[in-house]
Structures are given as structure tokens and as C-alpha cells.
Symmetry: D2
């Protein structure tokens, strides 16, 4: 068994120096100014030991990584009824594509593309005020990460609201088919805000532990979801968690994972570890470039791929 601390040190050192850093997302103005030279990683193993490297304490905008937690929360609220509003197949299209929605009458392909995550947010919102729903999402993340300081970066949320025309298009399009029930502004308000939650790698890895351990956080013993539901969320992360780069991530990394355009990735090695990496530069599919490279090295050296040692 390789020494995890050593592996993480090696990876952190290499990632700090690599010249190929991808391009920072520029379509959310507030994110465009992030320094691409940052890299952070945190791994929490089955015993709860935390291994970190690089900028693991620097908060970043989790963006679409939040979709894992809103899916979990919504499944807890409405159960499998959720699947009437959103599918669970890879989309074969970029993260913000609207083509598939026309072909499939407003039902998004999965909860991890933008349209699907907006539909999930709409389910969480039902019967609540936006600020209540948002509070619930935030408290859920604080609970999972065992850290009440986690907060929303309001400037990022405001920036997305001002420029999120494509998401507004997706939401209105679904609304025209009855897939969105609340006022579009309410649903999008909650969506833009939960995407703007800021976390660091350590917090994110902590929050994802229940997915690595059959739905329970081994530190607290709290059961977040059933073992079956944890497996199923992992399955969706693996097939759909990296937009139109999901196949590539499975091929290279071999773990369920969910990326965000802020450069973060949450990855799950079932039974072994919860992992968060962060590197702001993205590849052409919109996923963290060095984040993926780091995870590839980590799973390779640790033998953590779900597809074989």
C-alpha cells in the first residue's frame, strides 16, 4: 500500500509547477479574476484521517459541485418522484445545451447538467420562500462539512444573476413545458446562490464522506442517505458528473466525481476515501484540467479506481 501522505505531497508539488493550467472560466465575471496558479487537494480516508496539499484551505466557488448536494437533499425531500422531472442518462452535449430539451419536451437528461440542476432546485424550492430554500441548502452543506462558517459568496451570486442569460433561457424553456413549477426568478435565484457557495478542499472532502461510506459519515455515525441511494448518486456522478467529459474522466480517473467551473472536483473512492481537488483552469469541456490530472495520478498510485487496481 503506497503512503498516501507521500503521494499527496508529490502530486501537490507537481501540480504547483506544471505549465499546462487550462483557462479560468470567464463567463462569470467574478470568477474570471481568479489566479490560475493555485492548486489544492484534500483526501479523507476511511478512518477519518485528513491529508491535504497545496491551497487546501483557500475557499473557492463550488459552482456545479453543489449539484451533488442539492440532488441528495431533493431526493430526501421528494424521493424517487424526482425522476419524473429529470432523467439519469449522460447527455452527449455540453453542460448548457438546450437542444436536448427541445427533443425531450423540457425534461433534462440528468441532474448534473445545468438544466437538470435547475429542475432539482425547483423541487427543493417548492412551497418555500427562496431564502428558506437557500437556507436549507446552506445548512445541509454546513452539516455535512461539520462547519457552520460555510457561506455564500454574494458577489459571485450577483455576478451570475447579471450574466446568466443561458441559464435563464434553460429555466424558461423548461417552464414552458411545465417542468419548472415556481416562478423562474425564484428558482434561478436559489440556483445562482447555491452555485456561489464557497468552500475549501478540506470542507468539500468532509461534506462528501457519506458518499464514500454507504451513505453514513463515519465520523459522526449520521446516516445521510441509505446505502442504496449513496451508490446510485455515485453512479450518476460517474456517468454524468463531468458534462461531455464524463467518459474521459471515467476512462482516466475511474472514480465517481463532480466538477464545477470554479475548478473544484469532488471525487469518491467507495469504501476508501472522499477527495476534493481544486485548480481554477478548465479544459475545453469545462472541467478542472489539473484537478483531473491530479486525480488520475492519485487513483493510479493508490489503486483506487472502481474499475480494478
Amino acid at each position: 500500500m503506497p503512503d498516501l501522505a507521500l503521494v499527496i505531497r508529490d502530486i501537490s508539488e507537481e501540480m504547483a509547477q506544471r505549465p499546462d493550467r487550462g483557462a479560468v472560466a470567464d463567463y462569470i465575471p467574478e470568477l474570471a479574476g481568479i489566479d490560475p496558479n493555485q492548486f489544492g487537494i484534500a483526501v479523507i480516508d476511511g478512518e477519518g484521517q485528513v491529508f491535504t496539499g497545496g491551497d487546501s484551505e483557500t475557499p473557492f466557488s463550488i459552482q456545479s459541485v453543489s449539484k451533488v448536494f442539492t440532488l441528495t437533499l431533493a431526493l430526501g425531500m421528494v424521493g424517487d418522484r424526482l425522476w419524473r422531472r429529470v432523467g439519469r442518462e449522460p447527455s452527449g452535449n455540453p453542460f448548457n445545451s438546450i437542444v436536448q430539451l427541445e427533443r425531450e419536451r423540457g425534461v433534462p437528461r440528468n441532474p448534473f447538467i445545468n438544466a437538470g440542476a435547475i429542475a432539482v432546485t425547483d423541487l427543493i424550492l417548492s412551497g418555500h420562500e427562496p431564502r428558506e430554500a437557500l437556507g436549507e441548502i446552506l445548512r445541509f452543506l454546513q452539516f455535512l462539512a461539520q462547519d457552520p462558517t460555510i457561506a455564500i459568496d454574494e458577489r459571485v451570486a450577483a455576478s451570475e444573476k447579471r450574466t446568466g442569460f443561458r441559464n435563464t433561457a434553460l429555466a424558461n424553456y423548461m417552464k414552458s413545458f411545465g417542468v419548472i413549477e415556481n416562478p423562474v426568478d425564484y428558482t434561478l435565484g436559489v440556483y445562482f446562490h447555491h452555485c456561489a457557495i464557497a468552500m475549501n478542499c478540506r470542507q468539500l472532502a468532509t461534506a462528501g464522506r457519506f458518499l464514500a461510506h454507504n451513505g453514513r459519515n463515519p465520523a459522526t455515525g449520521h446516516s445521510v442517505v441509505s446505502a442504496e441511494r449513496a451508490r446510485r448518486i455515485n453512479a450518476i456522478m460517474l456517468t454524468c458528473g463531468h458534462y461531455d467529459g464524463s467518459g474521459e474522466f471515467a476512462y482516466r480517473v475511474g472514480l465517481p466525481g463532480k466538477s464545477g467551473v470554479g475548478g473544484g472536483i469532488l471525487a469518491v473512492a467507495p469504501g476508501k476515501a472522499s477527495i476534493a481537488v481544486w485548480a481554477p483552469g478548465l479544459d475545453t469541456a469545462g472541467n478542472s484540467h489539473l484537478g483531473r490530472v491530479a486525480l488520475e495520478q492519485l487513483t493510479q498510485r493508490m489503486g483506487w479506481s472502481v474499475f480494478g487496481v
Copy 2:
């Protein structure tokens, strides 16, 4: 640890009796007459113990399950150059869709949709006569299954050739972009024939063992592919192995698997077992209905999902 023999007996009994059997593929005339009341299963564990149930000795047309083996063979012949001709992302479209080919200039999304498998066959064919290439594929399967009696069902091959207009369209379409190099008739001839290979569940589970054990068949010690390549083939099986039902298969079964319209599925529990099931009736995505149900029960009871126990 549950008793595998018992689990398989239970599953076989239930599957023999369930009324929901799906619909036998009717677009290949020679397959349309198959009795939908059949069901077979074979599981080979890490120690090489074989567990079977139902019609596990009845040969069936492996159809697209053959794509796992042609991919393996082609990677052995041309290595990662293969990925210049075919992608490795889920397609988000049915198995025989041509839309994606137009958008992506003739390069199929992955080696497990028809277009992709035809492109892989074209790579195997390069520089050979069709009958040589076909011989090589057949011998590879006989070697993997350790059974020289495995053969092609010529009536099925002839039936596909007579009616395979959609595959002929796909091949010519790729040819127009230079993705197919050999004469279309040659490539399709080999493709139709390797899809028409007949195997039973036991043979198929044996042939797939190398994927469960880091590229080596534990029985013979033969290394078929490197451990990394085995993982990667498993990854593609998981994200793309069930056409536009791949997400559903991952969600319910949680194993890399590849289905064929003959009703067979090869599934791989890395480190644990190689599994073949067969039930001729298909669901709307073209995958064996009871085959999937049986695998869902098997992984659930054995705790074999790659996504957690």
C-alpha cells in the same frame, strides 16, 4: 457474505417465471424467432469457481457484446492510435443514431455504439483479407473462452447482411469522412460476422474474466491486456455499454457491462467476478430486460456494485 450459489438459484427461478420479458429484437429476422422464455446466467468468481443457472449452456447470438472483444483486440493491434478514429464519451443517442456523426464529422462517440464498433472493425481489418480478420477475432474469443468450438452463426450473419441498411448507412457515412479505410463491404462483412458469433453464458463469462482481474485470466495466468487497459475498457463499458440506457444500468446495477440485441450481457465485478446473463427480450433502449433485472438483484445481494456495498 451471501452464498453465491443460492443467490443464483433464487435469481434463475424468479427470472424463469416473471411475466415481464421485454420484446425480442425483430429487426434481424433470424433473431425474431427466438423463444423469449429463456434465461441463463453464469458467474465465475476470483477463484475460478463457476456458478450457473437456467439456460446457461444454450448458445445465443452475442451481437454487440462482441464489441468489447474487438475493442480489446484493436487496442492490442494499434494502441491508443485507435482514439483518433473513435471517441470515448456516451452518445446521448440511440445505438444506431447518425445525427451525432454529422455534427462530429464522421467520428463516432464511442466504440460501443454501432458506428464506433464498425470503425474499430475497420482498424482490425486493415491490411488483412476479411476472412483473415474474422478468423483473428474468432480465435481471440476461442482463446479467451478457452473453447475452440465457438463459432459464427452464418444464418444470423447472412440475415444481418441482407437487412443491415442502417449499418450500411453508418459505414458509408463514415467512409465519406475518411474514418473508414477499407472497402465498406469488407468492413461490414467482418462486422456482421463477429456480431453473429454464438456463445453460451458460461463461455461468455469465461471470455470476460481478464476484465475482472487486471487484464489477466487467473485460470491460465495469461495477461491479455495491461491492468490499466483493463480498467479503461471497464470504464467505457460502464459509461457507454448500454447505449442510451447506460446511465440506467449504472444506476441500477453498478457494474461495467456490455449488452447485445441477442439478449446477452457481459458484466464485470472488478476483483470479484465475471458474469454473463442472457434473456432474449429487450427493453426500449435495446438492452436485455430480465438480464438487467437479474444483474441488479445479483449485485445488490452480493454487494458487488463498484459504487459501494
Copy 3:
């Protein structure tokens, strides 16, 4: 030469009685209650003689027929720069499709599908307050129809605004590509209101006279547009004026025409006549069913098809 008055009387009588009346548009609630048994027609020949039949004095919501006039107005304001924002090819898709926008980076195919007309409205709006822009459009129609009583049906406008999620999606989608410059709410506000202008057949036929007579209204001698521009607007009406039923309209009627979901059609027989028909029931492509039938009979009997007598 057949007697036009007689032809119109025959057509009006037949249309009043036909059982096949199509289906009234129900996606705008305020239009859903319209009585489908109405039919009106007005024809103004080259000498300015007006021939009417049926409910030719009943105002109806002109809806997309307004797009002919906003295109004319916008061309007068920005000239051929307009074509940087919108194409002039048939779309091959329904009136409210968003698929094409994704493929062509937010540039709508022509000014007569919803997306294109919204982009045209955005050009008219530039540098104005919404109410000013709307006033300008309304005054232009009053001027063309020589009737200052023409007005907007505010209930229809409000109804569209409340339920126009798909148009809101289209506008936001174009905005994300920079094709819409004004705030989306402003542009859509003007768009929903000019679609809600109410006119009767006589007014509409009068307003369209300039297109039949080389850009000039023969009654007033006013030149509205150049002869070349009139021809070109007619060309776009012929190829794109009936959404995905434009080919059918050209095939059966043989005149440039523009339909609206209110059941109105403006048609132009160059050099001969300006024609307005109204029948609220629509065919599956969203065009007035009896309106088209009436125009087919009219052009056939009068020998007015642009494609030969």
C-alpha cells in the same frame, strides 16, 4: 378575367360553412376563447377598390403578421446592418424552435420565426424607451392602414407576457450570444405588445398595399420602401412566412404571405392586390387552416400565383 367580387362572395360563403376549421391557438390563454366559426377576407386591387367578405370588420390579434411591419420598420432604421443579427433562410423547424439557435450561435435563421422577430424588435428598440418604440410601431401601422384607431389589445399582451416562457427562453438565449442588446424584459415587452395589435381584414389589407406595388401605396402615393426592398420582403415572406409550412403555402397558394397564430394571413399578389384573410382555427404548423384554403381558391380562380397563371 373572373369577377373578383363574385369570387370573394363564393369563397366567403364556402368558408363560413366548412366543417374543417382547425384548432384555435390555446397557448395564449386570451386567444383560446375566440369563436372558430368566424371568417373574414379583404382584397384591395391595384386601383384601390376594396372587396370584402365575411367578418372583414372584426378586429383580431395580428400576432406574427406584425413581423412583416417590424421588419420593414427596422430595415428603414438600420438598413442592411439588420442582416448581421438575423438570417434570411427558411428554418426547417417549428416557429419556436431553439435548436437552430444553438447550432448557429444565437443568430436566428430569419425575421419571421419568433427568435428572429424578437431580434428585429430589439433593433427597433435600441436607444428608445420601450413605450416609445412601441408607439413608433403602432404609428407605423396606423399610417400604413390610414387608420388612427388601430390599437393594442392590452389583455392579449398581458396574457402573452404571463405565459410566454418559450419566447423568454429564446430572448435570453440570444442575449447570451450578444444578439439581443437591450434588457430582455424591454425587448420582450415591446414584442409581446406589437404581436397584440388588433386589426381587421380591411385594415390589414390596406397596410400591406405597399408590398404589392413596388413599395408605394398607390392611394397616397407615399413611398414606404424602395421597390427593391419591397421585392425582398416579399421574397422572405414567401420562403419563411409560414414557419415550417412555408413550402406548403408556396405550393398551394403561390403568393408571399405571413401568418399569425391569431388566424390572420397577409398575402401579396405583386402588381395586383393586397389580401388579408382571417379564420381563427390553425393547422398543425400553426397557420390559419381556412385562411390558407381561401387563399388557394382565390389565387387559383384569379390566376394570381406568382408561379404562373
Copy 4:
């Protein structure tokens, strides 16, 4: 009334010298070697007077212009049953697109895109040997052009057959939906050969006269089709005759017309003239660049646009 002879002389002179000549089609090897500096024009007015300019006696490959004549012939053979196999709407896609076929279950949008013309050829073929069907098409053109010397360029036909993978894909795709009834090789053989018919501008303008004169050739008095059918063919030429540049052609030229990748265009000024132009260089939509420019000047100066003088 401008002097037609003078207009044609001016146009011919300008076209001979213009530097913007487009690009000769290179996907049919036999056409790739054509000298792009050629230009020909022939106009036959209502009285039968022939006006020619430039290389009007040089034969060229009529390619898709032949689709007008095969449509006419097929309508004569099977009548409106033809429309069960092919639509009559603009496609909104390039000439050889296969996307639309998947969405609309193998039924091509109109008879002037490749798929539609192949389906029409298949109708003509029904119950004949390929050489008989081809003979019938050729004799029909010889009859229309009153010239028994018109022939097929066998080298062009052979060249297309060798390289026509995309058309082979289209035909097989339609066959898979039952839209093609004859063996694909037969249908394509006839299709490739009728596209390879060689004619000069004078012959082509003569062959098209019936479309300008209510279905009758005024020179012979022969009625080729009814007046209604002539109008309808003209309508389809206007909306669909230039692939995805049909809107542009209507906008600029304002006449029904059909182009071919050999650089020819047949245009019809109903009641006035039949026109053939030829210039081998194509624009990006696959239509003759200078052919379109010449027609634009001709209709402008003669006041022949169907959309107004």
C-alpha cells in the same frame, strides 16, 4: 422595356472578367478539373427567341438541375402519391444532411435535396431495369430540349459512383425506413447517371420552357404537365431549389430556380422566359456563385422578379 440582347451582352462581359469566381466542386473528382473561368447564359423568351452569351454552347454536368426533370417525370408516373415518400418543405440544412432523415423517419424534406431526389429516382425506377429507367429520363430530357444528342457523361457517373459514399449512406438510411423500394445499388446507379447528364445552356433553357409557360412548350404546343403542376414545381424550386441558400436566391434573384454542383442553374420567369446560366465556381452553400450574380442582374434589369418589378 430594356433590350434583352444588350442586357445579356453586358452580363456576359462582366461575368467573364470578374475575379470572384467561387470554388469548383472537388468532391466529385471528375468535376474538379473544370476551368472556373467559363461562363455561359441562354434565355428563351415567350416568343421563342433565344438569346445567348459566353460559353452557352459548352456542355456541362447538370448534376442536381436534373432533379427538376426527374420530379416532373415521377409526378407524371405516380401523381401525388409521390408526396407520401418525400415532403415539400425547405430543409434548413445542407444538401447532403442526414440529420433531418433521422428526425423524420427516413422521409426527405423535399425532392431537391439529395435524399429527396434519390427517393424520386427510386419511384421512377419501380418495375423497370435501371437502364430502362435511365433511358426514360434521358429521352425525357432529349424531348424537352428537342435535341436527341444529349447524353450522359459516363466518366462523371463512374466518378460519382466511386466516391458517392454520402449518397450511399442517405439511400441505405432511407431503405432502412422502407422509403427506398428498389435495391440501393439500382436506385443509386440511376441517380448517379442522371446527375451526370451533360447539357449546354441553350439546351437547358429549352428543356425548362414548359415551366415558364403553364406546363406547355410554346414552340411545339406540347403540354408537358398541367398548368397547376407547373406552378407547383416552380413553387418548390423557389423554396427549395438552392439547398440552404434558397432563401438567399429568392431574396436576391426572385425567381424559381434549381442549381447543380456542376455550376448550372435553371431559372424560370413565369410567363416571360426560361433561363440557363453556367459558371463552375460555387459559393459555400454549393450553388454557382457567378450564376446567381448574373441572374440577379438579369432579373433586376428586366424587371422579372416574381416579387414585383
